[in-house]
């Protein structure tokens, strides 16, 4: 039994709670400070249910009532466990330690672990000593009723927390930025849109070209997908399908902004419906729009999407964004070479090291008739050499 876990005791099978209670205030103890256990054998035929209670701040019961316990309904299936009960030290503070007796002293009784919500709306009415709240007398667990204890589930599925936050979405962000450990940068110049990222091959036996986070979607649109690898592949597959479906329906190829909006709307569905988790992927969609020119759009797990002049994602996102913000006024006027080199220099400066052509991926699309393609290792080396020359001169 972990320490500092509160357990509350109730005895199943009784609607009223006055005489089954296993916990009773000890004489002479302060308000709620010590609790003792009634000998269960005095209540034959009753099954004790151990109810672990969270010690988190928002879960604390109102303290003005002695021996008040809250019993909820468990989201776990009924688990029969033999639990050893430990006598508490004297003078332990309210809510810090709880106690249990040796179950072996009560043969024939099967303890059932039932987690409890201590959410505010579940608090019992006050003013009764030794009052216990018995939850529903379910023999098995009822998942439907547990959902009403919202504050326990807001971390697990896409429902609101009491402050109005969506934790699953926030966790998806964290997973996307830290899962792969890579940083990616996307930049758009006058007629070029570029993505750059590291190529970290986990094992020397792996074929390097198979490890890639840059994918083609259409001839003119490519994407840099950072985050959990399998989620990235799933998102890219969906993008390819959506782009092809658009072209089939409307007869012309999908503009990058429309594709980004579509992927963002798909991402939003996972933040609103409970059955699917959000994908831990940040998509940087890069392409040439026939009217607006080169575009960079970032789609995140929450379903937000924005067009950018330049942006970054992944573990060093903040540093890379700071680097780009310093050059924000010049970026939209960059030529192809300048765009590519600025992106590479940005990646180099946030990673703090130089790299060879085989250690980064660069992909770009240029001009109205351009195609999105990855640069070869030689081309990347040429750019790196040019950067080194510029730095020397």
């Amino acid at each position: 039994m972990p320490l500092n876990t509160r357990y509350s005791l109730t005895i199943k099978g009784h609607a009223s709670c006055s005489y089954w209670s296993g916990i009773q205030k000890k004489e002479g103890t302060g308000l709620g400070s010590d609790f003792g256990l009634v000998d269960i054998t005095k209540h034959p035929g009753l099954t004790p249910i151990l109810v672990p209670v969270s010690n988190a701040k928002e879960d604390r019961t109102p303290s003005c009532h002695n021996n008040q316990r809250q019993v909820g309904v468990s989201p776990l299936l009924t688990v029969h466990q033999v639990v050893s009960w430990v006598a508490p030290p004297r003078g332990s503070r309210f809510g810090l330690r709880f106690w249990t007796r040796q179950i072996t002293k009560h043969p024939g009784l099967t303890p059932i672990l039932v987690p409890v919500s201590n959410a505010k709306e579940d608090r019992t009415p006050s003013c009764h000593n030794n009052q216990r709240q018995v939850g529903r007398r379910h023999k098995s667990v009822d998942p439907i009723n547990t959902m009403s204890r919202d504050s326990n589930y807001d971390h697990h599925i896409s429902i609101f927390s009491p402050q109005g936050r969506l934790y699953q979405m926030e966790y998806a962000f964290k997973a996307a930025s830290s899962a792969s450990g890579l940083t990616g940068i996307a930049l758009r110049g006058k007629d070029t849109a570029v993505v750059v990222t590291q190529r970290k091959v986990p094992d020397r036996l792996i074929v390097p070209t198979s490890v890639s986070h840059v994918h083609n979607v259409t001839a003119k649109i490519g994407v840099l997908a950072t985050g959990m690898t399998a989620d990235c592949h799933s998102a890219v597959q969906r993008m390819r399908y959506e782009a092809a479906d658009f072209e089939f329906k409307y007869g012309y190829s999908i503009p990058p902004a429309v594709l980004a909006k579509r992927m963002a709307d798909i991402a939003q569905v996972n933040t609103q419906s409970a059955s699917m988790r959000p994908l831990a992927v940040v998509l940087m969609i890069v392409g040439i729009d026939d009217v607006k020119g080169p575009q960079v759009l970032k789609v995140d797990p929450a379903g937000h999407y924005l067009p950018f002049k330049g942006t970054a994602s992944g573990s060093k996102e903040q540093e890379a964004t700071n680097f780009l913000e310093k050059r924000v006024d010049n970026i939209p006027e960059y030529s192809f070479d300048e765009t590519v080199r600025t992106a590479i220099v940005c990646l180099g400066s946030v990673l703090g090291s130089d790299f060879r052509g085989s250690e980064i991926e660069v992909a770009a699309v240029t001009g109205k008739d351009g195609k999105f393609r990855s640069l070869t290792e030689e081309e990347i080396e040429d750019h790196l050499n040019a950067i080194a020359d510029d730095a020397d001169s």
Binding site: E121, P143, I157, Q163, Q268
Partner: protein, 166 residues
């Protein structure tokens, strides 16, 4: 919209009779950027700010105030992606109305159907309520300017002037 995996509603009554998910959704709205609307004698105005976290964002094309019919528009406070879903559904319903009646959908009807969608998401299985409050501004053929607010619960109110968000 309910998922087969979750055939029960996620928004259920608490012991005190409150629907907590809706209250939490209102908290999400209260954390959103301010939007406001004023209905004047001969027109109605809605506005919101458009601040981005970075100078790198190309904000000119990003829109928070969206037109839904010729005579009405929306603005929101709260979770942006949820708002896009509501705009899309409203536009589709306005188009379906036009197809049936060959008339522009009146603002009041638009508000009612949008509010009804928002209410469905508080009761259907496997989904959470929308984290947005909408301000709907419009004028029908009668020339009377109208401003409505629609909340995550699906309740709607007519206002002379109001603000939502922070």
């Amino acid at each position: 919209m309910g998922d087969s995996a979750y055939s029960f509603s996620l928004t259920t009554f608490s012991r005190t009779g409150k629907l907590l998910q809706i209250e939490y959704a209102l908290n999400a709205v209260a954390n959103g950027r301010t939007a406001l609307g004023i209905a004047a004698k001969d027109g109605v105005v809605i506005a919101t700010d458009k601040k981005f976290g970075s100078a790198l964002v190309e904000g000119e094309g990003v829109k928070k105030v969206e037109q839904v019919t010729d005579g009405s528009g929306f603005v929101y406070a709260g979770v942006g992606p949820d708002y896009r879903v509501l705009v899309r559904k409203a536009r589709k319903s306005a188009q379906a109305y036009f197809r049936e009646y060959r008339e522009v959908k009146p603002v009041g009807q638009l508000v009612k159907s949008t509010a009804s969608v928002m209410q469905e998401y508080t009761q259907s299985g496997g989904v959470r309520p929308f984290g947005v409050s909408l301000l709907v501004a419009g004028m029908d053929g009668d020339g009377v300017p109208r401003l409505f607010q629609v909340d995550p619960s699906g309740a709607y109110f007519g206002w002379k002037a109001t603000a939502i968000g922070k």
